[in-house]
């Protein structure tokens, strides 16, 4: 397991940005969950809370021209890649000003301006897309890198093995980032994944790494190295990130003791929370004072509150948009 690297004060700006982005994700999710609980959000949604260090550690090592593909649990990736709250909440509520004009919703949220090719409601469905994006980069001589986010459950999909084989054969600039949160819906990972996850990639000759997904600096360090190597043509790579989702599989999954104990949830939240861990480190290293941290938190809370209020008042798309965008012009 990689250890936390401490880069000293020169990195304080980057550290604070990572902290801020993690809090933005947690705050976004808390608000989204409230919208669901108060019956203001159509449909269901999957919370990213608890996994913030994965998305932020990775996306902070990317530029806007680097691409990501995301999953059904995609709000965290979207925020980490730079999306704004207003357009995100508008999308969750099916409003015209949403990132997808209300057509996609939570499970299809995408933000091309920051290189987010979109969430996907088909588990493993984006693995081909990410690999194709990397093939395009190589063909066209661009140096951008694509990160493919997916869960432990998605490692059961055959598509993953087809595209990893090709990515390895053709040295594509893609990083497969497996967010292992211990569960695939209502089933423990060990019941649905035989053998080792990293060994799956290694079988294709892809270098694979296991990292503590609750440690934002460890994730970020590793990603920076892998991105740099991808840009030099040394890809693909595989990362398995140990993490945990705090909520149920989706917001409606409330009574879950039959598959996951409260004690286990409590342990992860109290002892491994990526945000409190990082906050404590920022304070102890003198990078930020408690009151500065509180000010950041408060500002983000206000931003989210404003965005929610805005989205609740925003217009739905006009009915005439229903058959718009079926075909491109």
């Amino acid at each position: 397991m990689a250890t936390t690297s401490k880069k000293g004060k020169t990195n304080s700006e980057a550290y604070l940005r990572m902290y801020r982005q993690m809090v933005r994700i947690r705050t976004f999710e808390d608000n989204a969950n409230q919208l669901y609980l108060s019956a203001k959000m159509p449909g269901l949604t999957h919370m990213y809370s608890g996994e913030e260090a994965v998305a932020v550690g990775i996306c902070e090592a990317l530029t806007d021209s680097d691409r990501i593909t995301s999953t059904h649990r995609g709000h965290g990736h979207c925020v980490a890649k730079g999306a704004n709250f207003r357009a995100m909440f508008c999308e969750l509520l099916g409003k015209e000003e949403g990132y997808c004009r209300g057509k996609g919703g939570s499970m299809h949220i995408a933000d091309q301006s920051h290189g987010n090719l979109g969430a996907n409601a088909i588990v493993g469905g984006s693995m081909g897309i990410a690999t194709g994006s990397a093939l395009r980069a190589k063909m066209m001589g661009h140096d951008d890198v694509t990160v493919c986010f997916f869960g432990d459950g998605a490692t059961a999909q055959g598509l993953m093995y087809e595209v990893m084989n090709m990515a390895a054969l053709w040295s594509l600039p893609v990083i497969y980032a497996c967010e292992n949160n211990g569960y695939s819906e209502y089933t423990k990972t060990e019941e649905i994944a035989a053998g080792s996850i990293t060994a799956r990639a290694e079988a294709f000759g892809i270098e694979a790494f296991k990292v503590d997904g609750q440690d934002v600096l460890a994730v970020n360090d590793l990603t920076q190295k892998l991105v740099a190597r991808c840009r030099k043509g040394e890809g693909p790579f595989f990362m398995e990130l140990d993490t945990y989702r705090y909520h149920g599989h989706h917001v409606g999954d409330i009574n879950r003791e039959y598959y996951r104990s409260k004690a286990e949830e409590k342990d992860w939240k109290e002892n491994r929370d990526p945000i409190s861990r990082f906050r404590a480190m920022l304070v102890s290293e003198g990078i930020a004072a408690e009151d500065e941290i509180e000010a950041i938190n408060a500002e983000i809370a206000r931003d989210a509150e404003d965005a929610v209020a805005y989205a609740l008042e925003a217009h739905y798309p006009d009915g005439s948009e229903v058959d718009m965008h079926v075909y491109a012009d």
Binding site: P42, G43, K103, G104, A121, E185, T187, Y259, V322
Partner: protein, 331 residues
């Protein structure tokens, strides 16, 4: 008679058939302890154990292929596909393997399996969790396709499907799992290829599949107020299709609308309408109308999604026009 939900009806059918035939088993994602996300299978693993209620990884083509092989060699698998939209992932195993094996082997091999899955929009689940893909499988010779319209049909058709020696795909409407209907305590089966005349009428025939039967029935109520007497028919299985009952009705009423939640173009409605046109043409006073879902991916926004599916009001409006001899600007 007691009333139970569609979900309970499916559960009962599976339990009864699994007790009756030890070669049956259920395979799919989160089917055991979780009883599926819709909780349809709750309790089955307690009775039949994890050897016959098998949780799989998220590997649809894999477990579908495993079911085909088990069926070819003497078992009767019941495959649980969590969302109808995932049919696209298993198309090869279902259509190239399961559907064709009996024919390609000159009748020597059989593939007695059931694929239970679902259909239906307006659940705010967006384009990859809302599709009604029955036309895709109905197109493939060798597959039978059942579309229960209530708890009663769900139970009787499921039992028939499990005993059938062919691959059968059953589409349940995921918005109907909690809908109750009278279901007898005693055992019954509903034969395939037998339509159900839900309501008799003289002026127009409304043919609906799955939840569109309810839409047709509500439309018939609206039409009654205008003095239009609509007949409502539920084909119950689209393969095989009970042409005789549909034709007899249309010959009587001389008008028909076919309603199905799949996309309208190249769909179930087109097939049925075309058969009626071919075989009852000289009895018709109006073109047979198709009403399917709009030809767009299902949008997330409630403001858009509700526009895409047939409603009782839109069916009634079209029926009034057909009865008045007006042409309809059909898609």
């Amino acid at each position: 008679m007691r009333e139970i939900t569609l979900s309970q009806a499916v559960n009962e059918a599976l339990a009864e058939e699994m007790r009756r035939d030890p070669t049956t088993f259920i395979i799919g994602e989160d089917v055991a302890e979780a009883g599926t996300p819709f909780k349809v299978l709750s309790g089955l693993v307690e009775e039949f154990g994890t050897a016959r209620v098998i949780d799989t990884p998220i590997a649809e083509p894999g477990f579908m292929g495993i079911a085909v092989g088990a069926a070819m060699t003497g078992a009767r698998p019941i495959v649980d596909l969590m969302f109808g939209d995932f049919i696209f992932l298993i198309m090869d195993q279902l259509c190239n393997q399961a559907a064709k094996t009996h024919y390609m082997s000159g009748g020597k091999l059989t593939v007695p399996l059931v694929l239970r899955t679902n259909l239906g929009a307006t659940r705010r689940s967006a384009a990859q969790h809302s599709q009604s893909l029955q036309a895709l499988v109905a197109h493939i010779p060798g597959l039978k396709v059942a579309m229960p319209s209530s708890a009663y049909e769900a139970k009787g058709l499921m039992k028939t499907a499990i005993r059938d020696n062919n691959p059968v795909v059953i589409f349940e409407d995921k918005l109907m799992y909690q809908d109750k209907a009278p279901v007898p305590e005693e055992e019954y089966l509903i034969p395939f290829g037998q339509a159900n005349v839900k309501r008799e009428g003289r002026d127009i025939t409304l043919i609906g599949t799955s939840s569109m039967v309810q839409v047709a029935e509500k439309a018939a109520e609206l039409l009654k107020a205008d003095g239009i007497d609509a007949e409502v028919i539920d084909p119950r299985t689209i393969v095989p299709l009970d042409e005789a009952t549909l034709l007899a009705s249309v010959r009587k009423t001389s008008r028909a609308i076919v309603i199905d939640e799949g996309h309208q173009s190249y769909g179930v409605t087109a097939e049925i309408a075309s058969r009626l046109n071919e075989k009852a043409f000289y009895h018709l006073d109006a073109p047979v109308l198709r009403m399917g879902a709009m030809d767009v991916p299902v949008p997330f926004s409630p403001a858009l999604e509700d526009l895409t599916v047939p409603t009782p009001e839109r069916v009634a409006a079209n029926a009034r026009k057909l009865c008045a001899g007006e042409m309809i600007d059909a898609a």
